[in-house]
């Protein structure tokens, strides 16, 4: 079994993997952009710095939008939101999914039945439409958007964790732990969790990408927080001018594409690094 705690070995496997390197480079750039956005563009992404409809690679690297705002500034500040949404939403999803899936898988019986019925209830709601409804009701603010993404996305992870836990819980060493008188919590955290962690890491890394796409989709539909510049918002706002100014939608669209692609590649690299069968 691969051991995530042995960070060096996992990291080394990712760094020696081509798609892993590509993803780390892209993500590195995006993270740096997010961190240094206020240094690069101290006026913020909403400041109208030039004439509207200026094409890219002129006075402004990525051109300006319909109001004369610098698209590059929007990309930099949008990176912060995308990463924030991706990470926070995934954290909530992983927490909810692991706790519910873990308890259901470990205890079985009525606990399992109850929790899986609740999980199924969330699974029957079409995810994106569910998120739209939640944001429409609660109002478009960033915490609501993150919460909505988490609420509609945790159920599949809970089922995955439950299956993994169920597989592990019947192994002899768990029975030995029970015989030794270990508490349930201790068995779950110390014995079972490390065994399902690789699954959670891989699924979770893909969740980050999904969450970013969800946020972009909501912003595109005008359900994002109007006080925050995000990539999806930029695509949605530029859409009406797509025939006159391609760059307003293309550039933030590419930003979303590369970020999501990089995260997916990283997820694949994690999968290969953590999966014992992929050893060559």
């Amino acid at each position: 079994m691969a051991d995530l705690l042995n960070k060096n070995s996992v990291l080394r496997k990712i760094v020696t993997n081509v798609s892993g390197v590509i993803s780390l480079v892209i993500l590195g750039i995006i993270v740096l952009l997010a961190i240094f956005a206020p240094v690069l563009y101290p006026d913020g992404p909403f400041e109208m710095v030039g004439n509207p409809f200026m094409p890219p690679f002129g006075e402004f690297l990525f051109g300006t939008d319909m109001l004369g705002r610098d698209i590059a500034a929007g990309i930099a500040y949008g990176a912060r939101i995308s990463l924030l949404v991706g990470l926070v939403a995934t954290f909530i999803i992983v927490l909810l999914g692991t706790v519910i899936g873990g308890l259901a898988g470990y205890y079985g019986g009525w606990v399992d039945t109850l929790m899986m019925r609740v999980t199924e209830f969330f699974q029957t709601i079409p995810t994106f439409i569910g998120a739209i409804v939640i944001v429409a009701i609660l109002g478009p603010t960033l915490p609501n958007v993150i919460g909505a993404i988490a609420i509609v996305s945790w159920a599949p992870l809970a089922r995955l964790v439950r299956a993994e836990v169920k597989k592990t819980v019947n192994l002899e060493y768990i029975e030995a732990c029970i015989a030794l008188g270990m508490s349930d919590i201790r068995i779950l955290i110390v014995q079972i969790l490390p065994n399902v962690l690789s699954t959670v890491v891989v699924a979770g890394s893909l969740m980050v990408a999904t969450a970013i796409l969800f946020e972009s989709g909501l912003s595109f539909l005008g359900l994002g927080d109007p006080n925050i510049m995000t990539w999806g918002f930029m695509v949605g706002a530029g859409r009406s001018a797509i025939r006159t100014a391609w760059w307003m939608v293309t550039i933030p669209g590419l930003a979303i594409l590369f970020t999501v692609l990089a995260i997916n590649l990283l997820g694949d690299a994690f999968n290969e690094a953590l999966n014992p069968r992929s050893k060559r």
Binding site: F46, E47, M48, P52, M66, L67, G68, A136, G139, P140, G222, P226, N227, G236, A237, R239, S240, A241, I242, R243, T244
Partner: protein, 537 residues
């Protein structure tokens, strides 16, 4: 040699131009019968009878089916329609209309003065959203014979004569509606009128088809065989329809302003100016006058100074408007109601400094981050252009130290919070000023129109006895000159007080294919009967 050639060339050019002009003139001046015009508008109307609704697209469809007593020229002077002539008594309290005797309803029944009496007194006055402002002082209508209607007014009411169009006061058939529940009468969505076009069918979610009324009372008109209103959900598809020639006319709002500017550059497509002089739409910010910080006149003025109206007109609305001076649109210049004399000019060079000084005076000094106050701006839920305007306003106000949080609300919540509960700081909105300030502008600042049950009234709850007295004087003043003086005073006082911030006079123009002629021949433009519209191939 060279000069000769050039001269010859010039001659040739002149000759060809002249012949082109000669060819072109008769063609464009001589209307041609036949053809169908396809109009796209959005959203699909809730009902098809505008006596019961003021929904914009209901008006666009119904004004082809129904007639009014009057029509208007571009200066908003009345012209005959169902009424051939009229006479106002010396005291201004009686108006006698002589009606046409050759008009029949689309179902063949004759049109009589009883229809006028029924439509205006029983239906429009009480059921049309603007019925009470249009016809309020109208106490009764006498019908001495089938073709005479005598209006009795409580007091002289000049605006009445500007409110009898098919848009505001359509005449509907008494024989179909009398004694029924008007709103549930099947004729509401299967309308019978006297207008140039007859209703044929409405395929919900798709189109409404109207065909030529062969018995229309204007001889030889309408020129068109029919009009089709198409409803397409996506703005880009509507634009593509115009571009491909599948759609002839797109009303304002059906296509994004930026796309309108692109379509306009295409060879077969134009934007015909005008067509909104009779409704004078105005865009504005509503400020909550009963709540800090906008309970202070200086803060309200500071907001008015801080916004660059020219930028807003050019950059957000792509030039489809004129920077506003005050509550009354400059489109009413023809009738003399508009003035900018003695009205505060918010577009002066040092406007930002003035705004900062006003805020200092009001006691809102900047903190270490330069922030004087925080407010919430509820963006009018009318589409993405409005959201973009909200983003601009946020930036513009931040320049004078007002930090704005934007909030997008869905339409029902917006109406409830702003117009029913008055729970807002600042909103963006627009109103139809109509052809007379008493009809459309008054309701935003007259204290009598503060009513949480009726949305789109005086939502800022501005309550000033002086301006109230002026509005009330304008209602009963019979002399047009004196009335205009009252309106000039109102503009000066209201702009000084700035209970609202008037941003832009909206130019609600339509995009049209060049095969459509006589696009705009009245101050209602595309919202009029279109009996004189024709198409060339």
């Amino acid at each position: 040699m060279f000069t000769m050639r050039r001269r010859a060339l010039c001659k040739a050019v002149v000759a060809s131009l002249a012949s082109a002009a000669m060819l072109a003139l008769p063609v464009s001046a001589e209307p041609k019968r036949g053809g169908t015009v396809v109009i796209t508008s959005t959203p699909e109307p809730p009902i098809l009878t505008n006596a019961l609704s003021s929904a914009p697209v209901t008006n666009e469809v119904a004004t082809k089916i129904f007639d009014g007593l009057l029509e208007y020229d571009m200066d908003l002077n009345p012209l005959p329609s169902l009424a051939t002539s009229w006479e106002v008594s010396d005291d201004g309290k009686t108006v006698t209309f002589n009606l046409r005797d050759d008009v029949t309803w689309h179902d063949g029944e004759p049109f009589t003065s009883a229809d006028v009496q029924f439509s205006l007194m029983e239906v429009v006055k009480s059921h049309h959203p603007r019925g009470n402002s249009n016809l309020g002082p109208l106490e009764s209508i006498d019908t001495p014979d089938d073709h005479t209607a005598v209006f009795h007014l409580e007091h002289p009411y000049v605006p009445l004569m500007r409110a009898l169009s098919s848009l505001e006061a359509p005449i509907i058939p008494r024989h179909i509606y009398e004694g029924t529940d008007f709103r549930n009468n099947p004729a509401v969505n299967d309308p019978i009128g006297t207008g140039p076009f007859k209703f044929v069918e409405w395929e919900k979610g798709n189109y409404i088809r109207l065909e030529r009324n062969d018995d229309y009372w204007r001889d030889g008109m309408p020129y068109l065989d029919g009009i089709i209103f198409r409803f397409i959900a996506d703005a880009a598809t509507r634009a593509a329809g115009i571009e491909s020639g599948e759609i002839d006319i797109a009303t304002f709002g059906a296509i994004n302003p930026v796309e309108m500017r692109r379509l306009e550059t295409l060879p077969d497509i134009s934007i015909t100016p005008g067509g909104y002089e009779g409704i004078t739409p105005m865009m504005l910010l509503e400020l909550n006058n009963k709540r800090a910080p906008f309970d202070d006149k200086r803060v309200r003025q500071a907001v008015a100074y801080a916004i660059d109206r020219q930028f807003l007109t050019d950059r957000i609305w792509y030039g489809f408007g004129t920077p506003a001076v005050g509550p009354i649109s400059s489109a009413l210049e023809g009738s003399g109601a508009f003035t900018d004399e003695g009205v505060i000019d918010f577009t002066v060079e040092d406007r930002l400094d003035i705004a900062r000084n006003l805020l200092d005076e009001a006691g809102y000094t900047p903190d270490e981050n330069g922030v004087r106050m925080q407010i919430v701006h509820d963006v009018g839920p009318f589409g993405e252009d409005w959201r973009r305007m909200g983003e601009y306003i946020k930036q513009a106000l931040s320049k004078v130290g007002i930090q704005v949080e934007l909030r997008n609300r869905d339409y029902p919540t917006f109406v409830r919070k702003v117009h029913n509960e008055y729970d807002f700081d600042m909103t963006s909105s627009w109103y139809i000023g109509m052809a007379d300030p008493t009809l459309g502008v008054q309701r935003n600042t007259w204290s009598e129109t503060i009513n949480p049950k009726v949305p789109y009234g005086n939502a800022s709850r501005y309550d000033n006895p002086e301006t109230d007295a002026l509005w009330e004087a304008a209602q009963t003043e019979a002399d047009p000159e004196k009335r205009n003086e009252i309106f000039h005073d109102l503009q000066r006082q209201l702009v000084e007080d700035s209970p609202l911030v008037w941003l832009m006079e909206m130019n609600l123009v339509a995009v049209n294919n060049d095969r459509v002629h006589n696009m705009i021949t009245s101050p209602l433009g595309i919202r009029d009967g279109l009996y004189d519209m024709w198409v060339s191939e």
